[in-house]
Structure formats: structure tokens, C-alpha cells
Amino acid sequence: MMHSPYEVDRTPRRQRRGRAIAMAGLAGAAMSLAGTAVAGTSASAADTHAAAVAAFKPVKVPKSKIKIALIPGGPNVYFAPWGLAAQALSKQLGVTVSYVVPPTPTFEPSVETSTIDSLVAKGYNAFAIFPDGESSIIPVYQRLINRGIPVIDLAGCTSDPTPALLCYATNVEASATYETQILDKAIGGKGDIAFLTGLLTDANTALREKGVENAVAATHGKVKLAQVVSNIDSPSAAPPAVESLLASKGAELKGMLSTDYYPSVAAASILAKNKQFRHVLFIGQDNSPTVMDAIKAHDIYGTMYQNSYGQGIVGGTWLYDMVAKGCTVRANAPFTKIPGTARFVNSGYFFVSQKAVSQYIGKPENIPSNTSQVLAATSKYLACP
């Protein structure tokens, strides 16, 4: 006979009652806000939602039974530093912190949800998750929260009113704006640029494009976004797309930027081999060896670093505080409001230049200063008894 991992709840009655009250609040807030985008919600609705989240009391778990899971969307090099973070946290906190990759190279939501179900059945009691698909993951979040299991979004956010307690991720719109501003400056403040990006179905792609457009608009026509090439974040789609772009617009383009992994690798590799496009300054994303080597050789201008290692560290630490100490999320925490959610914490980004690249080669994506700043400010985000 099959049992759902959520079927049996053996927690004390008092805790269950407390959670039930909190859940009623969360559900009420969710119902009242359902179908309403954050951008359009009133301050009071957002406050109600924040209060409902703050009312959530995670079940305290004895240290020997704490099992924290960091779950990426699927096997992807971006998330690899989470594995290192999980190892570091296990050692530092003395509890089980696991980096569990759903076996879906295509980031199938159903595979991710079944992975979470399996982990709950194995006794995992705190989750930091990169959400593959919002509509399918939110009911799973809700079931976890109903059991008193804390869930946070990591590296990607679900939209309010989400049951996720908070979202710790790169502010992709701001990062894209910053990246474009650097490129604009590098090309002398005027000229045509092109933007290479990922899946149109990924909500982050729209935010990144908006970020690029904002920076371009701020130049008042001096810099023109000549072309956007999207849906190319895969090993076989990126190279021909980048080459076709250079073939058609290489002569006019002064700059090019990417916010995704494979277009960055492809552009770095192609620019290194085709010196006739040397005048096209390129800023990539992340730290693949191909990109880092191309920066070192001055074949490309630089790359944007994200803080995936820090995401694992902060996510795991805050989940530990919740299940070990019973900490709750503060209603008045200094969250950033971004499109989609009002409970966002920026995990950081920065630009790696040709001058600085040597010190970052071979190291995991990491911004220690941001990680330590956020951890130092834990008391502003979590209320611990």
C-alpha cells in the first residue's frame, strides 16, 4: 500500500494547533491575494501576507534529527557550489545538510516534486529549493509548510502569495542593468549592442531583458539594443546563434552581453578563435573555464559573477536556525521588493574584469563579503526565541 509522505503527522497536538492557526493565516492571505501580481498588490495585502508568513512556526527538531536539503532545479553547473556549501555546513553545524539534485537535465517540475516527496519520506525537515515550475511546486510548498517544515526559495523565486518563507537569489534584473552599464561604458557610451539570453519561458529571462532595456534607455539613444537572441542556453543552440549574430551584425556591433551560461561559453570560445570580431566587447555570465581563459587572454571584456556558494551557505544556515532554534521570519524584515515577490534577499553579483580575473580562476562562484554581510544581519530577517 502506498502512503503519501505527507499523510502521517506525529507532532505534538499543541504544535499542530499552532501551525494550523498559522496555516489558516497563510491560506487566508494566499486566497485573498490569489491571482494578483505583487506589483499590483496594495501595501496592506502585502503586509497581511508578510504577517501570515511571520506567523509560521517551524517544528523544532532535535539536532540529531535535523536534515536539511538544498535542491536545485536539476543537474547544472551553476548549482554545483551548493554541494560544497552543503559539505561545509554539515561540518560546521554538525547536522545533515544534503545537496540533492533532481534527475532531470530539462528541469522537469514533476521530477523535482517527486524528489522532494522522497526526501520528506526519508525524514528531511527543512528545504531550500530552486523552483522548476511555479504552478506545480507551490502545492508542494504548501504541504510542507502545513507540516511545519520550513521552505525557502533559493536562486529563483516563486511569486507571492507563495508559501515560501523568503527568496534568497541573485537580483537578476539589477544584475543585468549593472552588466549593461559596464558594457555601455566600455564601448565609449554609444553604439549598437546585442543581448544573448536563455529560455523565454523562464521568468528570469524577462527580468533580465528588462534590466538590459532599462540601462540602454538611460543612455537616451546613444546606446542601441540592436538585437536580442533568446532561447539559446544549451550546448548545441548557443554556438550557431552567436556565430550567426556575429556574421550578420559583427561589423556594426560594438558590444555584446550574455546573462546565461552556454551563450557565454560559446561567445567566449568563438571570439577567441575569430579575431576579426575583436572590436565587439563581450561580457559573459558565470565562471566557466572557457570564459575565464578568454578574459585572461583579453579576448572578452569580463564576466558577471553570482554567489551560488553563498546561496547554499545562507539558505542552509537560516533553515538550521528555523528547525534547531525555532526562529521565524520577521514580518518587518528588510526585504527587497522585486517583480513577483516582496520577500526577496539579494545574494549579490559583481563584475570580474580582465585585471582581476586571475584571482578568481578555479574558485567556485562566491561573493564572501555579501554572504558574511547577510549572515551578520540574520537577526533582521529571523526572530529567534
Binding site: L200, P235, E243, S244, V265
Partner: protein, 344 residues
Amino acid sequence: MSQVLRAKWLPLLAATVVAGIVLGIETKSFGASFNVYVILQTAAFDAVVGLAQMVVLAVGDMSLAVGGIGGLVTIAIGNAVDVHHWPVGAAVLAGLVLGTICGVVNGVVIARTQLSGFIVTLATGSAFTGIAYGVTSAIPYSSVPSSIVSLSQGRASFFPYLLLVAFGATALVGAALRWLPDGRSVLAVGGNRDAATLSGLSRSRALVVAHGSSGLLAGVAAVMYMGVLQSATPATGTDWLIISFAVPIIGGTALTGGEASSVGGLIAAVVLATINDALIVLNVNTNAVEMAEGLLILAAVLAGQVGRLAGLQGRAHETGRPGSRRRRAAGAAAGGAGLDPVAR
């Protein structure tokens, strides 16, 4: 000459050439040397991936493991070079042997269990991909030998060196299906399994040959991809599925087996690469790219049917009749010329 005129891919090629000339006149950059190189390089990749599927379609089966094998071979070569410091030749050879073994395993399992290739390769393809990700923890190997990079990105004016690989693979597969006994068996079994068996042909052997060849070709495609990205990533092959079917089918290979056209596949690869390139050269709105790509592929397929509808391809049309399948199988068994129309 008459065979060329009857070829299903001829109208497709004609339509592509006309479209290319129009685009070349409309946009100066389309006909530029570097852009032609880009199209031909992409076509070379796609053609080899398509061949990997075509040989399995020819035997009346299908493989969902082409991408998985590609990913595994990529990682095997990357690991051999990056971690174990093997010479590049030995690493590539080992990778190609591994790809062939993976394909043979598929063929043996399908032949022994009598299960559909769809089910078996769905499972093994997933397993191969899983191994590739498991071995690497999703982190690519970056020490791709310069000789592979030079092969993948090298060119003489507009002619990519990779196209030589695609030409070679196309010629070898076409010749094998036409002239080698095992190749003719593959087509015969694909055309009519029962008749082929009654004629004394081994379906099991044909399946193993087809899937083994598919694995080898997937390995060749993997090597080609490694050089472009200058990294051996386990994500290689994750998006090969559609292109692997689109290339042979648009090129005239029958989904039901018994009929294959390696040259048609090569032409189809050029068509698909031209479409992808044109959408970027023409700066088609990002939201309209998917729709435009679909409509253009449909137009290409319809162009491929023009000749048939005009009655130019009598023999090709003939191969679709049940009677002709029997004749092909009987011809194959007798070592005769009954397969001429199906292996082009």
C-alpha cells in the same frame, strides 16, 4: 542523373538555394563568407546527429538515446584527457568505442527482450545521461585538446572542416546501406520484418548493427560539439532529440523503416541550419522565432513533397507499397538489386 532528378531531396535543395539567393540579395551579410561557414558548420553537426537516428529508423526502430550517448561519450573523452591525461587520439578512440558499445547494448536488449526501441532507449538514454551528470557532478571538463578545437572551428574561407566529417559519415552510411550485406539487411528488416525473417535475415543482428552504428555516430557528433564550446559538458545531447528526428525525416527517411536517405539528411540539415541562421540574420522578434521556425520547417517539408506530387519520383513512391517491401526483402535476401530505391 535520372536518380538525382527523382530524389526526394531535390525540391528541398532547390527551394533552399532559391531562398538563399533571395536572402543574399536582401541582406548583404547572409551571403558573406563567415555566414556561409556558420550555416555549413551547423549543418555538419545536425547531419551527423540526424544520421545517428536515421540508421535506427531504417531498421524500423527509433532511438531516444542518441543524446544520452553523446553526453556520455563527451564526458568519457573529457575525463580521459583532463583527468587521466590520455593522448587525444586514444581518448577519442575510446570515446567512439564507448558510444558504439552503448548502441550495441541498446540493440542487444531490444533484440533479446522484443521490447520497443522507444521504451528501451528511453530508459538507457536516461541512464547514460545520468552517468554523465553523476561522474561530473554537472561540472564540465575544460581541457579540450586544441586539435579538436581546430577541427570544430577550423575553416578554409566559407568551408568548415567539420563538413568533411559530415560528408564522410554521410557517404559511409549511404554506401553501407546500399552495398554492405548488413546495411541491406537493416533496410530489409525495416521494410518488412516478417518477410526479411522468412528470407533468412536476422532481425536481431540488424537491430544490433543499426543501434551500434547509431552509437558510433552519436559519438562522432559529440566530438564535433566538444571543440566548439571548448569544454566537455554533460549537457551535450540534451537537446538533440528533435533535430535527430527532423533531419532524417525531412530528408526523406521513412519513420516506418525500410527507407533511408543519407544525402537527403545532409540536405535537410542544410535547410534547418539555413532557417535558424536566417531568423537571426533577419532579426526576427524573439517571441516570433518559434512560430517562424515551425512554419519554415513545414514549408521545407512541403517543398520536399513537390516532386512526389508532380509524379517525378515514381520509384520512391513505389517503395511505400506493401508489395515493394516484400520485393526489397526478397532482393536483400538474394543479394540482388531490390534495395536500390530505398538506400539513397
